[in-house]
């Protein structure tokens, strides 16, 4: 097994694939590592050999080229540590830690989902929209009837449409946004005709599938004895205030929720890359200059980690980084193409701004969350605990952590952190100068004890 490469790509989603595609064929030793079994990441998740109508032929060809290329790929591999000098530690099955070095590293770590907590959101049966996509696209399963899909942003509509496409059934689609808020961005959408077309297609499918669609409808509770049995909803006015007397209870045993995306910048932070908190790009993002190099020499970032804006922008950035690295190596990366790609990418960043603004929390979101609602799922820390800690004088994330244990569980703040940060900045409670990225230490993700102890042959 090699431990030294010219380029190491972390993540086999659109960004990683885009970079690999450009770099391939130049006699470089390239390694791609990814947590999943196959390439594609979340967006292009598929079961090899099974036709997936949701992946365009262009993307399918990209996947085929990369998987057939000479690029080394480690799957089910989690990166747990990294240094600015270009060393990464990776856990590969079955629980081996290996050290690998590369002259250039591309961080294409993608995103995870963000959620708006409500009472009962931890009940079994409440899942993320992404979880249902994984079941469908990765395991060939569909929800049996009475799944409710709820949330904000494009994903709930997309999911409902995909379920129907696979002959599943959707009990209801609940969109928190007001139809009018989409109008604000109509001009923007109009210049993204393909997105508009896509969105319309999904909407039509859902309408034709006779799925009840409710806008301005927010899930305010999940109830049941030991698992989900009922979803409680209320309607809101244009400003997001809950309308009294609008409560409805819908029987359901499966609820998929989604409220936008959060870039996975943890590895970048551990390696010392500068990150900035930019709400309109999804939260903490890796700071890069034009050629998408981070603040650390020879470490590049591509895809959602530089700003949430969808798969096309990720692919473009992967390609940009590929060309940039070829230039560095004197291998004639196409400079003109880079500037074309950058222009197109700017176009997609606008779309990202729209999506991120849709899924940003509102003042009303904060105020209506009850004290008993859990914020940190791992450690059972409630909003009430956090509010009290703030009253008691906590001025920092570490302070909140120590006082309440929020963020100290296994997920190390991945689920609760983005929610908390967004709520605090929106409410004005914390000045942006108080925003520091969550302190990251080895291991970036939990590792088996034995992996740390194992001596390498």
């Amino acid at each position: 097994m090699r431990d030294n490469y010219d380029v190491l790509i972390v993540g086999a989603g659109p960004a990683g694939l885009g970079a690999a595609d450009i770099l391939d064929g130049h006699d470089l030793n390239i390694l791609m590592v990814d947590e999943n079994m196959h390439t594609g990441g979340q967006y292009l998740r598929h079961m090899p050999g099974i036709e997936n109508k949701n992946i365009s032929s262009i993307d399918s060809q990209l996947i085929a080229r990369v998987t057939k290329s000479g690029i080394d790929r480690w799957h089910r591999a989690e990166v747990v540590d990294g240094t600015p000098e270009g060393w990464l530690q990776v856990i590969i099955p079955p629980n081996r830690i290996v050290d690998v070095h590369a002259d250039f590293i591309i961080l294409a770590c993608g995103t995870r989902e963000k959620f708006r907590p409500f009472p009962g959101w931890t009940l079994p049966g409440v899942v993320s929209t992404g979880a249902v996509q994984v079941l469908m696209k990765g395991n060939g399963m569909i929800p049996s009837d009475d799944i409710i899909v709820a949330g904000r942003g494009p994903l709930p509509l997309l999911l409902a449409s995909e379920i129907l496409q696979k002959k599943g059934r959707v009990r209801a689609l609940l969109d928190e946004t007001h139809a009018l808020s989409h109008l604000k961005y109509l001009r923007l959408l109009a210049s993204h005709i393909s997105k508009l077309g896509e969105g319309t297609r999904h909407l039509l499918r859902v309408v034709r599938g006779k799925v009840p669609i409710a806008t301005r409808t927010r899930v305010v509770g999940a109830q049941g004895q030991g698992k989900l049995e009922e979803v409680v909803t209320m309607k809101t006015n244009r400003h997001g205030d809950l309308l009294p007397n609008s409560k409805k209870v819908i029987p359901a045993s499966f609820l998929a929720i989604g409220h936008g995306f959060v870039p996975n910048v943890e590895l970048a932070v551990l390696m010392g890359c500068r990150v900035d908190y930019v709400s309109e790009k999804g939260g903490w993002i890796v700071r890069t200059h034009d050629e998408l190099e981070t603040s650390i020499e020879n470490i590049f970032a591509a895809g959602e980690v530089t700003g949430v804006a969808g798969a096309q922008k990720s692919l473009l950035e992967g390609q940009i980084v590929g060309h940039s690295i070829l230039n560095r190596l004197g291998l004639n990366g196409n400079k003109r193409q880079i500037s074309e790609l950058i222009k197109t990418r700017t176009h997609y960043m606008e779309f990202g701004k729209y999506v991120n603004s849709l899924t940003r929390f509102s003042q009303a979101d904060i105020e209506t969350v009850s004290d008993e609602t859990i914020l940190c799922r791992c450690e059972n820390v409630t909003f009430g605990h956090i509010r009290q800690a703030l009253i008691d004088g906590c001025v920092s994330w570490p302070g909140l952590k120590m006082t309440t244990r929020c963020g100290m569980g296994r997920c190390q703040g991945r689920t609760c952190g983005p929610i908390l940060e967004e709520l605090l900045t929106i409410s004005g409670q914390w000045h942006s100068s108080q925003m520091k990225p969550y302190s990251i230490r080895f291991p970036v993700k939990p590792i088996p004890f034995s992996a740390l102890c194992a001596t390498e042959e």
Binding site: R76, A131, V134, N139, R377
Partner: protein
Amino acid sequence: MNVMRIKSIPRDRALTIYVNDREIEAYEQETLHAALLAAGILVLRDNGNGMSPRGIFCGMGTCYECLVTVNGQPNLRACQTLVEDKMEIVIDAG
């Protein structure tokens, strides 16, 4: 039952896996959490105080909710575990 296998999709080899000594349907290349959901197993554990039932949440290895014991090894994420033949899973729903 919360999910069903799509009939038109061909499955790989059928495997034998046990959950609390009960055999459930599973196929090679499936992740454990999918097999559990397809068998109607939703509640996977309690989060510490006897009143916090938990199951699959994010489905992609980020939230650490779907923890089960596999072949004696506790606290593994079901969504990141591939099913294997004769796998023994213990779920303590608390």
